[in-house]
Structure formats: structure tokens, C-alpha cells
Amino acid sequence: MINFLNTLSIWILPLIIVFILVFALYKKTPAYEVFVEGANEGFKIAVKIIPYLIAIMVCTALFRASGAIEIIENFLKPVLDYFKIPIETTIIMLTRSLSGSATLGVLADIINQTGVNSYATKLAAVITGSSETTFYVASVYFGAVGIKKFRHALLAGILADIVGLIAAVWICSIFFL
């Protein structure tokens, strides 16, 4: 299964590209000129999202460095023990929505501390694999088009993250405990 999926993910991109190009050839689309025209937009978008990314990343980096997470961790400890959630995984639950690179760092740290076959590692891996960096996605996507009023988008994303965390704890306890 995993071999098949790995092969699929290597082949899928070249297949898509070749298919698009062959179709363009068939329709006599000037592929090179159109490609350059599209690629030009990529640069503009990347520059446009910089201010939004700065705002979001400064916020989340500050929050992580301030030690606020450790304070929340101590506060939550009795609840975590009750649901058999390893204390090591609290950090990953709190950083998952804030920073993608930090999350991967925390996952590596949990593997180091508790061993790669521990329950904490499995739970952390499921949490990491099943969600996205909500704040980053919001700043990139809305920043690219200049949206300043996010309305309910962020709240819906965060609520879904919370459902995901609860589901991860529940599903992992069924699978791995």
C-alpha cells in the first residue's frame, strides 16, 4: 500500500504536467508565452503576502517564545492525565495551528524523548499529519488577495482544529492503547 502511494505521488506531478502540455499542443495554445505570463503572477503574489506573513509570524513566534504554552500546560495537567494524554504532546497540540516548522521540531523532540514507538509519538504523528498550520494558511491565502476582514474564517478553522485534536486523542486511544 505505502509503496503504491509513494510511487503514485512521484508520478502524479509529471503526469499532470505532461497532460496539460499535450492538451495545449492539441489545442494549439502558445504554451511558452502563456507559461511566462502566468509565472509573472507568481512573483507579484509572493511579494504581496510578505506584510501579512510578517504580522502572523511575529505574533505566533512571540507567543511561543513567551512561555505562555508552558503556563497553559501546567494549567491543563489534571485534564490531560484524566484522558491519558501524554504530557509531552500538549506542546504539539498548542503549536500545530501556529507554526508548521515548529510542529515538526516538536515531533522530532517527542521522538527523542519518548522513543519512536511510544504512544506519545503516535499521537503526535497523527496530530501533525491530520491538520494544517491554520494561521499561516490564513495569512497566505487572504494576504494574496488583500482581504483584511477575515469574518468567521479563522474561527471556523480553529474550531475544526479543536475537533481534530479531540478526534486524534479519541481515535489514537482506540488504535494504540
Partner: protein
């Protein structure tokens, strides 16, 4: 967003003072602003490449064909993009690329889809219902194979790393459905 921004920064400073790590926090804050620029510049190449490819698909008429196939289910989720063919196909491409774990390809499709949604937005500073729904399902990060996590676990010699695939798929599907659910419910309260 304004309140979240102010609240996060002030709370962080207070916690940093309480924990005696104000110096580290300020250092991290300044580093993050630099990192933001590095990330954006890192995106330029990959964005340029994929938007170039997508443009070919768009001009050759391939996008119209794709959007015809997925129109029905997509319009259930995004009712207001009936006549927006580009948005339909870019949303479809974004969701499929994410599902396959190709997040590098998914981001340019997603941004293009946002631009297509923005083109029919009357107030360019305020997100539409479809934009919020689309963002919410993207933050849920639906994917069939968590490729990055699997790579880390195998690199650390885990016994049978594939055991996390099924639980991850169940959790990410639940998160995806609830993102959709919350976006649809909350849009009534945020005008």
C-alpha cells in the same frame, strides 16, 4: 483579526515578563519577521512555475473541462461560483493536490482560487462566504497520505510507520467535515 493580533502580542509580552524571558521573546519576534520574508521569497519559484502551468491549462480550455466534471458537488459547498469556471477548477485542483499530499502544488492553486473568488467579490477587503469556507477547509489540511510525517517516522526507524495512516485519515476527515460545518453555520452570524 485586529483583536487576535493585539491580544496575542500583549498576552505574549505579559507571559514573557512573568517567565523572565523577555529578551528571548524579543529576539524570536525579530527573527520571525525576517523568516516571513524568507518564506515569501522561497515561494516565488514554485508559485511562478505552477501558475505558469495552470495558465496553460486555463488558456487551452482544459480548466473548463475539469470544472464541468466537478461542478455539481462543488456548487453544494460553494453555491455562489456557478458562473465562475476558473474558481471551480482551481478549487478542485487545490483540494486534489492537498489530498495527495502535494502541498507545494496545492498552495499556488489555492491562491489562484482565492483570486478567482475575489474577482466576484463586491467589497474587496471583506471575505465572502465562499472564501471563508474555502479557507476553513484548507486549514483543516485534508490529505490521504501524510507524506512528511511518514518520512520522519521511517527515518527514525519506527516499526511499521504505516499504522498511523488510517487513524490520521479518520481524524483529518472529521476535521475537514467539521470545518465545512462550522464555516456554514458561522456565516449566518458574521455579516
Amino acid at each position: 483579526m485586529n483583536y487576535i493580533f493585539i491580544f496575542l502580542i500583549i498576552i505574549s509580552f505579559l507571559c514573557a515578563i512573568f517567565n523572565h524571558r523577555l529578551d528571548i521573546a524579543i529576539d524570536e519576534m525579530l527573527k520571525a519577521s525576517q523568516k516571513a520574508v524568507e518564506i515569501a521569497f522561497g515561494l516565488i519559484g514554485i508559485m511562478g512555475f505552477w501558475l505558469g502551468i495552470v495558465k496553460i491549462a486555463e488558456k487551452s480550455g482544459l480548466m473548463d473541462i475539469i470544472s464541468k466534471f466537478i461542478q455539481k458537488p462543488l456548487l453544494l459547498i460553494f453555491p455562489d461560483i456557478k458562473d465562475n469556471k476558473e474558481a471551480q477548477s482551481n478549487i478542485a485542483l487545490n483540494i486534489s493536490a492537498n489530498a495527495l499530499g502535494l502541498s507545494n502544488a496545492a498552495t499556488p492553486f489555492g491562491i489562484k482560487a482565492m483570486e478567482d473568488l475575489q474577482s466576484q467579490n463586491e467589497n474587496k477587503k471583506v471575505a465572502t462566504n465562499s472564501m471563508c469556507t474555502f479557507l476553513a477547509i484548507n486549514t483543516a489540511g485534508f490529505q490521504i497520505v501524510p507524506a512528511v510525517v511518514l518520512a520522519i517516522l521511517s527515518a527514525n526507524n519506527m516499526d511499521n510507520p504505516t499504522q498511523i495512516i488510517l487513524p490520521t485519515l479518520i481524524v483529518t476527515s472529521l476535521a475537514f467535515v467539521s470545518a465545512l460545518f462550522f464555516a456554514k453555520i458561522l456565516e449566518r452570524f458574521y455579516k
